[in-house]
């Protein structure tokens, strides 16, 4: 969906301000949010792209105003309620009022190391890749209302395939349904800065995105 999370190229956000000696978490609740997200992911309650999509659907003004981990917390509450894992009255009460549903598995302290690792997104396919390294490709001018990983700033621009990553789980599909991985070939496509930002742009800059095959057409 086209919303404020798709920030590449937006002006006006000011300088980047590194924080000296930044702590891992700025408050204990941030660590709990992160760990809850990991544990619920391990349990199979939802997947990474469902978390991202829940954040993207926050009202734009809220997305921009709240801190990073608060955005995670709000998205997690949405996922919990939308998937029927708890009801609004329970969230409001701060206690379970009804028994939980059965999930695939449960993260325990003994398994915590597994909850830290990332899975593999690569999938086998018999379908040949449409593109190869060196091919010129155009990012399609598409505007799905649902989750996508094709940023707006490359749409309708021409770049060059520089890496073929193999076939990977397709975020646009799996954000809608855990069972629908719909694997697609994944490429790194590199764009000249002037192609993206105009003739006055820095000629030494090149920008790449990782783009799934359905995002691309021959140029």
């Amino acid at each position: 969906m086209d919303s404020v999370h798709d920030m590449g190229g937006t002006d006006g956000f000011g300088q980047v301000a590194p924080e000296p000696n930044e702590p891992v978490f700025h408050a204990p609740w941030e660590g709990r949010v992160l760990a809850l997200q990991r544990a619920m992911g391990f349990a199979g309650a939802w997947n990474t792209d469902m978390s991202r999509f829940a954040q993207e659907r926050l009202p734009p003004a809220i997305y921009l105003a709240v801190s990073y981990y608060k955005r995670w917390a709000l998205a997690m509450e949405s996922n919990v309620m939308e998937r029927g894992l708890a009801d609004p009255d329970e969230i409001a009460a701060g206690h379970a009022l009804r028994p939980g549903r059965k999930l695939k598995r449960k993260l325990t302290a003994a398994l915590a190391a597994q909850g830290l690792g990332r899975g593999s997104f690569a999938r086998e396919t018999n379908r040949p890749a449409l593109f190869k390294i060196g091919d010129r490709v155009r990012a399609k001018n598409i505007h799905p209302k649902t989750h996508t990983r094709l940023p707006r700033y490359v749409r309708n621009h021409v770049g060059e395939v520089v890496v073929v990553h193999g076939c990977h789980v397709f975020p646009d599909a799996v954000a809608q349904s855990m069972e629908n991985e719909n694997p697609q070939w994944l490429y790194t496509v590199r764009f000249d800065g002037r192609e993206l930002w105009g003739a006055d742009a820095d000629p030494t800059v090149k920008v790449s995105v990782d783009a799934f095959e359905p995002y691309l057409e021959p140029a």
Binding site: G8, A17, P18, A27, L34, S67, A73, E77, A211
Partner: protein, 209 residues
């Protein structure tokens, strides 16, 4: 100091902190009572990120690549396999790529759509990496972003910006600083800043603060 930073760190800390502390505790209690999560597992995850998984892991990888040409070759060919062979607390994901900086080419990593970052080798991303300022500007005007970090590259160095829009994760292999001949891997690792592995900094020169 920009608005984004001020907002995250001071603007409404008092009210947001207490509100969020209560709100997240309520969520954790519900999910625990429902039987979905185990608080002891949550403790273990928080502890791992606070004490075990951080940029020191990446720094050791870089220092090894600087001193061991065969490891560097394997790292650039298949970073996932090369890093996994070293053994880390958190199993590295399947899709790690190392990007080598040279005098002709500087690599810089961003995630414009959210905050994708190579957690296993760098730990959790800093606030600035997740900020709107970085996510918006890195792909459009990377040299001005580097200036915010006090980094100036030669005018003719090519700047490659990698937007992490899928599950591929990128680790920058910074250039080895001058004056480090004969230093041990441990000494070299001290020179590898987190930012140098994201591409917003350079490795430190020995003796510099």
């Amino acid at each position: 100091m920009n608005d984004d930073h001020r907002h995250d760190d001071s603007h409404d800390h008092g009210s947001e902190l207490s509100e969020m502390q209560l709100r997240v505790r309520a969520l954790e209690t519900v999910l625990t009572e429902k039987g979905y999560v185990d608080p002891a597992a949550l403790d273990a995850i928080v502890d791992a990120y606070e004490t075990k998984i951080g940029p020191r892991n990446g720094a050791r990888i870089v220092a090894k690549a600087w001193t061991d040409p065969e490891f560097k070759r394997r790292l650039l060919a298949d970073a996932t396999a090369a890093v996994r062979a070293l053994g880390h607390e958190s199993r590295v994901g399947d899709h790690l790529t190392a990007l080598e900086n040279t005098p002709k080419r500087h690599n810089m990593v961003v995630c414009t759509l959210c905050s994708c970052y190579p957690w296993e080798v760098l730990g959790l991303p800093p606030v600035w990496y997740k900020s709107a300022a970085y996510r918006s500007r890195a792909v459009k005007d990377p040299r001005s972003v580097l200036a915010d970090f006090g980094v100036k590259l030669p005018d003719d160095t090519e700047v490659l910006v990698w937007d992490s829009t899928a599950e591929s994760r990128y680790l920058v292999l910074p250039m080895r600083p001058a004056g480090t001949v004969g230093m041990s891997e441990d000494q070299l690792a001290e020179l590898v800043s987190r930012d140098s592995m994201i591409g917003t900094g350079l490795a430190k020169t020995p003796g510099a603060h």
